[in-house]
Amino acid sequence: MINSLYYRVIVDGFDWLSKTFERFESQGFDRAYNVWLPSAFVKASRKVRKLQGKGSITTYLAAMFAGALILLLIYMLLVIYP
């Protein structure tokens, strides 16, 4: 009876724990670190390069006006009407 209890609780319990941890490590943490995280950065990188467009001056100007507008908004909100 003690032997059966020992195998069911200790051996099977730790066996389950080991497999669960291994599954978490390989499919959770390992996968997140080696697959999900790099693919997220690759997607973000492609997005940045897509935003860059094909080098048209219109895009440069649009980005400039957007940037200048943001800076002026910050100036108005935090300096003029704080």
Binding site: F41, V42, A44, S45, R46, K47, V48, R49, Q52, G53, G55, I57, T59, Y60, A63, M64, A66, G67, A68, I70, L71, L72, I74, Y75, L78, V79, I80, P82
Partner: protein, 456 residues
Amino acid sequence: MIPTPVVASLFLLGALVALLPLLGRILKGASSYVVQGVMLLVALAWAALFLDGLPLIRGTGWFRVDALSAVVSMTAASVGFLVASSSRRLRNDWQFQLVLSSGVLGTVMLASSADPLILLVSWGLVSVSGYSLLALAGDRSSLVGSIKYAFMSALSFQLLRVAICLMFAGSGNPRLVALGAMLFLVALGFKAGIPPFHMWLPDVYGFAEPVSVSGLSAIMKLGALALAIRLTEQTVLALGQPEGHVMVLVLVLLSAGSMLIGNLGALTQDDVQRMMAYSSIAQVGYVLMGISAFDAALVYGQPHVAYEALLGVFLFIPSYALSKAGIFSMLAGFKGRAGTGVQALAGSKAPESVSASVVLLNLLGMPPLLGFWAKLLVFEAAASSAIPVFYALGLPWYALYGIANSAISVFYYLKVLRAVYSSGKVEADHLHLRVAELGSAALLVLAGLIVPLLVL
């Protein structure tokens, strides 16, 4: 009273620019040696002053001889020396030397002057030299890049004019000074390639003749960065506590955007020249991090943090300039340069491999190279617990953000390094480029070994 070595160096540069149209026609290919000689003398004159002991940053006078102007002038002249040797592979050599010398003269003036008129003239001189450098290469990509750069420079020059008028004329009114400072940051954004004003940079640096890009990226930005340090310092001190925070916040936003966009843009790039163009954006982000930490330390009255941040920026400027001069000169040696794929670097010869490794590891911030000390000081200043805006949830978010961005950059710098050491056919033509490549690598190693003994 302007010190004699400074007057002598300005006179030498001015005389060089005035006489090169005549000397160039007589000396032809040998004119680069004259330019290199003058650049060496200018660098030595500023180095002698620097070693003699200068204040870090001076607040008064129309011409400010301080450590900031010395570091920028020494760097511009040293990089000018290196780039002058690379230009011997171009057809119109003496014209290139003339434009390069004008760019260095403009940069030296921009780094030292506090007179609004001289600032505008110097900025204009640097801008004209920049797009002339590109146009002189003569190929289609460089000409297109030159026109794009000229267009954006003209816009930024107009903004700078308004900004300087507001900042100098409205010095009694903090609101006008703040508005002038915002417009100056837009003009700086164009010049230095800071997002969202950076859109021209990957197209120009990524496709134009690499020798021209080495001069443009390594010299023409330096004066604008020095001016940014001076003007933001003056603005923050003039505005005081509440408005000074706004200036710091804007600098932090620009720095964070620059690091992220630059590193993400380079991450999946296979063309090394375009990758290095994006890397330039990221590197300027680190410089801005140092400037924002310096200004924040002034707002919070933390002189030790301000000193550390400024020291970091002083080291970052030569580290960035020498690295870019080295890497773009190296890229110029590879045939089919418009598509300088990573594989084109495979099987590089031993000296080129070593210098490329040094330059790439320096950009990465690997000890004991100069880039490591620069990043260490900038990140340390950004992690200072005395500046509350750099902390969130008890963590130094700004420094951690910079470190995370450095971690992203490891992937693409190592991709290039792996290619350099992989086997393949050598396609490089390095006849005149070795001085720039090897010189920049040697200076980075030397400075990296000397800096901790001198300043840390």
